[in-house]
Symmetry: C2
Subunit: 128 residues, 2 copies
DNA sequence: CTAAGGTTTCCAGTAACTGGAAGGTCAACG
DNA sequence: CGTTGACCTTCCAGTTACTGGAAACCTTAG
């Protein structure tokens, strides 16, 4: 199938599919005589897999690892679990950061009158 | 004062200070004869202000707005409050996204044995 | 045969820096 | 006075994961 068909199946923009082939993440299994990329069903599954992993916030390099584990029939689940755990740790770290930002900013907003006067605790705080 | 001194005061890498001058966010108020950037106390305060705003996750362009409000003695606090509220909304959106990722990934991890066998619900889930 | 719409490659831009090279400057030490 | 080391300058490239666009080629329908 051509690139627009596989892109539709994988729910990715064609630009992204082309990009993934360029960086060697998921290449087309062949080319037509005219040089068009020719994707197989298996390629489509891989692209789908990558899209879902990306939605989970795995980086391209992590996707590369996951993909090789996905393709490895002899893989152990521990390797995959370790990658997922790393990702979970990152998420928790980010959550803690966002929570403290949320606390700080909402506190500032609560104390800002938000009227036409120039007094502003937000500016004052940033100015310190 | 020279760039390394102002960088130390503002707690920013000199590279970043140079970058901020390059993009016209906070320029040095002058240059020495030899062409060295020459920063004033006020420049130092602005750089500090920007660093703190960046730590709150404001983008460079938002910092530009905040900076012009900071410099405007006639500003109304409502403009600043609106920017902060936008930032808070973004934070809350990101928090919701991270929460659903956390739920999904931790669920997958809980169901993965993580041993030497190839069976892995994480891969299975991504494969669907 | 032509026109529309697909495909190719290549180049540039995004956000916000960061690293490094080549070269000019400054202060101190002997 | 020379030199050494630590500054400073500009410019270029790389980072992440695409995205937009141009020029040129291919395919398919009418």
């Amino acid at each position: 199938m051509n690139i627009s068909k596989v892109a539709k199946i994988a729910q990715l923009p064609t630009k992204t599919v082309r990009y993934y082939s360029e960086i060697g993440l998921v290449a087309a299994s062949g080319r037509t005589e005219a040089g068009y990329r020719d994707y197989s069903e298996q390629d489509a599954r891989k692209l789908c897999f990558v899209r879902r992993a990306r939605e989970f916030g795995f980086s391209i390099e992590e996707c590369r690892s996951l993909l090789s584990l996905y393709e490895d029939r002899e893989r152990s689940s521990s390797e995959v679990k370790a990658l997922a755990q790393t990702r979970l740790d990152e998420i928790e770290q980010k959550q803690r950061e966002l929570q403290s930002l949320h606390t700080a900013i909402s506190h500032l907003i609560k104390n800002c009158s938000g009227d036409h006067r120039p007094d502003c605790p937000i500016i004052d705080y940033l100015e310190q």
